[in-house]
């Protein structure tokens, strides 16, 4: 009954932990491994024109549907201009307006975008169903040629995608037959001109459109949006390179706008100049996740430890490791059956190892305990009362620590200085416990427990300060719910401890004959 209760509780805790982790990983893209940085693109469009003291309106298309890129941040530098952003036929458009600007004017549009992958971008989602085009009236001069070509292509293709692909291939082929040559010259199909292609596709009633994408390069200025052909296949827009009929655009193509309207248009001034520049840089994944959370309107990152001041974050990096260490102690005591001085003393020692590093930590700890223990034995002969004796041990421990620091400093062993990081009261208590165990249960028991303490501390240190694990608990503190579930389950563990198998083994030996 109680077991069922505990199991249910543990199950719920694990489910909570895992679903939160899944959300953070799949939606916010928080990393499961300690990769501290992510690469992002800074893209800047600079619009400049000369104003003549009359009301000015500048309209500029800005990216809206950007597959493979997550727009993390967007920023308009408008000065004294009024700014409005609206949607129009699947595009977004920024409109700056000013009453009486004079002289040379510069407007900026900046975005921060994260590129999801290096893979080619093959398609873009269709937000709504496009209008299917009517078959155009071709001139008599080309009509038969077009029909022949389309029939030919239709025969060689299976669906819209292959139809478009075959058609483009034929038109781009170097050795072209008469029909194709005629069509090419009539529709002005060369050097990536797209309108002609669209007319031909309309002949097969396939919706198509032109989309302008900027290929981002690190440190590039004066990037020019290039046209790509998009073909609607009934569910999404497939992207084709009009130059060579290839499918898809390179992964670094940031799609800017669709349609053939000019990128920038203006009233009250001559056509403004647009310069697009891009720069790659690195930001911390946590910042990225925070921005992404803002984007999804998710409150989860507001309650994240990453929103704390850095110093507090560092404290929690340590604190969050403690439950993991506690789990190690539970495993060592209840499943393995190792006895230690004090229940959680090994964790405190492991925390000290974090500062001193493992080998130095062990060496200093053993040195400190053995020196302290020998002095403690001397105190034993003085028959001191408990509390004064403890106080004396603390004093001796502090003196020993100071002594070790000074000696190791003189010897040039810098690490020896880190002895000061051992919690002296913990060391004093360990010495006291060790000496009592020594007195009462003999040196063997004291060594055994000392070794158990050290072993648990080492194991705890290795688990608690494993780079990957401490990253996990810090970025996904909800994993501690899983740790809690594990300790709850171990709280109802009623199997044998490993040490008991050893302890009771003689019973089996006797039974066997």
């Amino acid at each position: 009954m109680k077991d069922l209760h505990v199991r249910l509780l543990a199950g719920i805790l694990v489910a909570c932990a895992l679903s939160l982790v899944a959300y953070k990983v799949l939606v916010l893209h928080l990393p499961l491994t300690p990769t501290p940085d992510a690469s992002v693109w800074h893209v800047e469009a600079r619009i400049s024109f000369t104003a003549r003291g009359v009301p000015v309106k500048v309209q500029f298309f800005i990216p809206s549907e950007t597959p493979n890129f997550t727009l993390i941040d967007e920023d308009f530098v408008a000065g004294s201009y009024g700014l409005a952003v609206d949607r129009e036929k699947g595009n977004r458009k920024a409109q700056w307006s000013g009453r009486r600007p004079l002289g040379s004017q510069t407007l900026y549009y900046r975005i921060l975008a994260h590129q999801e992958s290096e893979d080619e971008i093959l398609s873009r989602p269709a937000l709504r169903r496009p209008v299917f085009p009517k078959v155009p009236d071709y001139d008599d001069t080309v009509g038969p040629a077009v029909e022949a070509l389309l029939a030919d292509v239709r025969a060689q293709s299976a669906d819209t995608a292959t139809f478009a692909w075959v058609l483009l291939k034929k038109l781009a082929a170097k050795s072209a037959d008469e029909n194709v040559a005629l069509i090419r010259s009539h529709f002005n199909i060369s050097d990536g001109q797209i309108e002609g292609l669209r007319k031909l596709l309309a002949g097969a009633r396939i919706p198509s459109r032109v989309v302008w994408g900027v290929r981002l390069q690190d440190g590039a200025r004066n990037l020019v949006p290039e046209p790509w052909l998009e073909v609607y296949n009934g569910s999404e827009w497939l992207i084709f390179n009009p130059l060579n009929a290839g499918r898809g655009a390179p992964g670094n193509t940031l799609f800017w706008r669709t349609g053939s309207e000019p990128l920038v248009s203006s009233e009250g001034t001559r056509a403004p100049q647009v310069e697009i520049a891009s720069r790659r840089s690195v930001i911390d994944v946590y910042t990225l996740a925070e921005k992404r959370a803002d984007l999804f309107d998710s409150r989860i990152m507001d309650f994240s430890l990453l929103s704390l001041p850095l110093q507090t974050q560092n404290v929690y990096r340590v604190l969050l490791a403690v439950p993991v260490g506690a789990l190690v102690v539970v495993l060592m005591r209840n499943v393995v059956g190792i006895s230690t001085f004090g229940t959680f003393m090994p964790i405190l020692i492991a925390l000290a190892f974090r500062e001193t590093r493992l080998l130095w930590g062990i060496a200093l700890f053993v040195l400190l305990i053995s020196l302290g223990l020998s002095i403690r034995f001397y105190f034993e002969r003085l028959k001191l009362l408990l509390v004064p004796r403890l106080a004396s041990v603390v004093t001796v421990v502090v003196l020993l620590m100071a002594g070790i620091s000074v000696v190791s400093n003189n010897l040039g062993l810098e690490r020896g200085l880190s002895v000061a990081l051992f919690p002296m009261v913990i060391v004093a208590m360990t010495i006291e416990r060790a000496s009592i165990v020594w007195e009462e249960n003999g040196p063997q028991a004291a060594f055994k427990q000392g070794l158990g303490t050290l072993l648990t501390a080492i194991l705890g240190y290795m688990v608690m300060f494993n780079e990957w694990l401490s990253h996990l608990v810090f970025v996904f503190p909800e994993l501690l719910l899983g740790v809690l579930a594990a300790t709850l389950l171990l709280g109802r563990y009623s199997g044998y401890r490993l040490s008991e198998l050893h302890r009771f083994r003689n019973l089996l030996r006797e039974q066997r004959p």
């Binding site: 509390v387 249960n441 401890r497 003689n506 019973l507 006797e510």
Partner: protein, 313 residues
């Protein structure tokens, strides 16, 4: 490893985790612990219930009273000083006689007044108590060893541990002091545990430091087939302790005094598992058999009788 675990399980060996989770946590209410963790409390309860105990000469509760020690001891030339909240026989000082100004400790060492006062002070400050909490020191009658045990003990008084579950004695062992244990009848410190046949009170073979033995390591005498006198009295004494505390699972430590017979020494709410090695038998099956009983008789004598029938030789 798994096969060892499986075979131990088949034998019904009780592990520490199962003991704690299934028996101690389930049958022992925490509020009852102080009744047994404080021996003074147990003694008073037992005294009120008419259970035979070693006579209490006096209690030292605060440092100031340490000077009154001689008046508490009075005319007695032998006595025992023990911590009220001690465990595992730690901090027990046995004085067997007087030599002029000094006291004779059980191991033959002479202690002066100051040494004894220091021991009592340490006891009060919690050196021997569970968790180091402030404690009091009990001064009580020194149990005289029954001649029966002279052949199989060394330097101290043996005691009998009976594990009682739901008021029914389920397993028993005789604990013998050795040279290794420093005269204490504590298995952790090297004492010998000897299994006892519940119906008859006859001893089996023994165990020391978890190794099975057949002879006492110091005297060399066989441990087997010693018949404990007044066995039925001891069984009913253990059964009666159930009413005393209300604990569902505990160990009763009983000593056999040469003149006074069985006396209740103390109760333990977390009895150890070595008793299984001493008896070469698992506790778990026995506990499950008791658990399966629908009704537990209210009469201690009846329960003691039940132990004899439930766990035959």
């Amino acid at each position: 490893m798994i096969s060892i675990a499986r075979r131990l399980n088949e034998m019904g060996i009780l592990g520490m985790n199962r003991r704690n989770a299934r028996y101690i946590l389930q049958y022992n209410q925490r509020r009852l612990y102080p009744l047994v963790d404080d021996k003074l409390h147990t003694k008073r309860l037992a005294g009120d219930a008419g259970i035979a105990i070693p006579e209490l000469y006096g209690v030292v509760e605060i440092q100031h009273q340490v000077q009154e020690l001689p008046s508490l001891v009075g005319e007695h030339t032998d006595f025992v000083i023990k911590p009220a909240k001690g465990s595992g026989g730690n901090g027990v000082l046995v004085i067997t006689g007087r030599r002029r100004n000094c006291w004779l400790r059980s191991d033959g060492m002479l202690l002066d007044e100051e040494a004894i006062e220091h021991h009592v002070s340490n006891t009060l400050s919690g050196l021997y108590s569970l968790g180091g909490v402030p404690d009091s020191a009990l001064i009580e009658y020194r149990v005289k060893i029954d001649p029966l045990f002279n052949a199989i003990s060394y330097g101290g008084v043996p005691d009998i541990r009976i594990v009682v579950f739901r008021g029914i004695p389920t397993m028993a062992m005789l604990r013998l002091p050795t040279r290794m244990s420093g005269g204490k009848a504590n298995l952790h410190q090297g004492g010998v545990g000897v299994g006892i046949d519940l119906p008859t009170g006859m001893t089996h073979r023994g165990v020391q430091q978890e190794v099975p033995i057949t002879e006492h390591p110091d005297t060399g005498n066989p441990l087997q087939d010693v018949e404990l006198p007044n066995w039925d009295v001891m069984l009913s004494l253990a059964s009666r302790c159930y009413e005393l505390t209300g604990l569902g699972y505990f160990g009763a430590d009983i000593v056999l005094d040469r003149n006074l017979g069985p006396l209740l020494l103390e109760l333990n709410a977390r009895p150890g598992l070595s008793i299984q090695i001493a008896n070469r038998s698992g506790l778990r099956k026995r506990l499950e058999r008791v658990e399966a009983l629908k009704e537990i008789p209210a009469d201690p004598e009846e329960r003691a009788g039940l132990a004899v029938t439930l766990f035959p030789t």
